[in-house]
Symmetry: C3
Subunit: 221 residues, 3 copies
């Protein structure tokens, strides 16, 4: 997708604009990788890990979801190890967050949650779009958008011995699902990709932010 050495994984959208499409997915992927790396590093610093542990958690949070997605859709090696930018990006993010310990420790919860919501929204639409591009059906593409969005944070939580947000937080995977469904619906309705992904990400972010602000809950027993 994003590497000249693997032409078999390229594609064209209905308008034939191959490069643009791959570039959009890759740029959203990279933005999310950076966002989640920063978030993972903050969690690691708050857990008093050493500098290498912080970088490990930054990488796991940033790559986990996208790697699982890429392995499941058959884009192997995954973008995170094929592309030259992902690993340095996550490592530098982890390093910088570790150095900025004092301000990081004082990051308010709403900012941390907002960062997480941005990553969730971007990965949900990038995951669904890439799955559609690799020929998966609609239901699976929305499902893989959710998996991409929640995968990294879930693995990081397991490593840190915490309950993953996807089980703990009420409106979390639901928001990612909304983003994925919008991308899938837009694809079926023939909308242009860029605006559709933007709309999906904004709706996902809005639902997550609203639920945080209003303390919305899903029913449980």
């Amino acid at each position: 997708v994003d590497d000249e050495r693997t032409p078999r994984q390229s594609w064209r959208d209905s308008a034939g604009t191959r490069v643009t499409v791959a570039t959009v997915v890759r740029q959203v992927d990279l933005a999310t990788t950076g966002t989640f790396a920063v978030e993972g590093a903050i969690a690691g610093v708050k857990d008093h890990l050493d500098i290498f542990g912080v970088i490990v958690i930054a990488c796991v949070t940033a790559f986990g979801g996208g790697m699982v997605r890429d392995v499941l859709i058959g884009d192997v090696p995954p973008a995170a190890v094929r592309d030259r930018l992902y690993i340095p990006l996550a490592v530098v993010a982890g390093f910088v967050v570790f150095l900025l310990y004092k301000p990081v420790e004082n990051i308010p919860t709403w900012l941390f949650n907002g960062l997480d919501a941005v990553g969730l929204s971007l990965f949900a639409v990038a995951g669904s779009q890439k799955s559609l591009d690799f020929g998966l059906n609609d239901v699976s593409s929305a499902f893989l958008g959710v998996l991409t969005a929640v995968g990294g944070g879930t693995i990081a939580a397991v490593l840190l011995g915490a309950v993953p947000a996807v089980l703990r937080v009420d409106i979390y995977a639901v928001a990612a699902l909304l983003g994925g469904v919008i991308v899938v619906a837009g694809s079926r309705l023939g909308w242009r990709r860029g605006p559709t992904m933007l709309a999906g990400a904004l709706c996902c972010f809005a639902l997550r932010a609203l639920s945080l602000w209003q303390h919305w809950n899903l029913p449980h027993h």
Copy 2:
């Protein structure tokens, strides 16, 4: 295997009955997916997860083992995301179990364990058979049968912060191994597939049920 869009992953058995074979593995896979989704959803309801968390655990329990198997044998995208039935089946199972909260809460342990034993038995034989069909050797096919059978429940337990049954329960993976070994032996001896898988599943179920009833233990220190 189970999707007309991926002809490269089809196969023929010695009698040349390609469709039947794929259909049998798929049907056993689907039956197990439903069984494990119900079991996972019950575990989620008992853990007081919200409705989406229940569906997440239902999906993880139902898909985890088969997805790991499919990725390892090279059947990518895995059946769970390529086939249109798996995801809706697990989601509906999770939803229905959540709605039936009261009767679910009162499910006796023996019924819950019996459900788990059915899923274990079916996935052990389906996992071993599919691995053989993809050309893996005998030892690996039996091993992958066990992995398919215990994989989903193990990932779900890790997410819920519980000790996986495969480490906690004495005769568990051993029963799955018995089912896998019977499938592999039957394949070497030229037995017909359907009856062999049935025999393997029944032996696995019988061993698991007997060990539950008689409180059999494996040696430990």
Copy 3:
């Protein structure tokens, strides 16, 4: 790589010595598998698992890292299930360790840590070398060496409900990274493979052993 049935995954080094290269990686892989299986089995025995649980943890510790590496680089089915030796080796190691309970219980910490350092060193260089051979870039190859080295122990720790060494121990993944970087650097500088891998493994082991002996720490807050 190590199986005559999968010629597509073979390769040649600059000197054209295909068999030797594959053999070296496979032998290092097998040695590490045995080492990590013994280590995992010891951890399982100390955790009072039954005999099958001990074998499960031995397999997870031995195969986890290599399987993740092989799936990510696209060598599917992974060597651990394609090659006939890996599974029997890990199972026998687990079985023997279980039988030798008394001496195992009295194994001093330094010997257990030394065993772990050997496995870490061997898998770091084997993981990096195999990733280079499959065409991954330098940064990713070093990264995958670390992942190979720490993967199995991390999954085993998660299953046992423990904090993974990669987060808990100060100089751990750093030592694996050193081994991987030496392999990558040697490959760029045109050094011969065998001596380069040996040098990487020795440096990794020396750094890990020194840090244990001197109680070196990385900075943390």
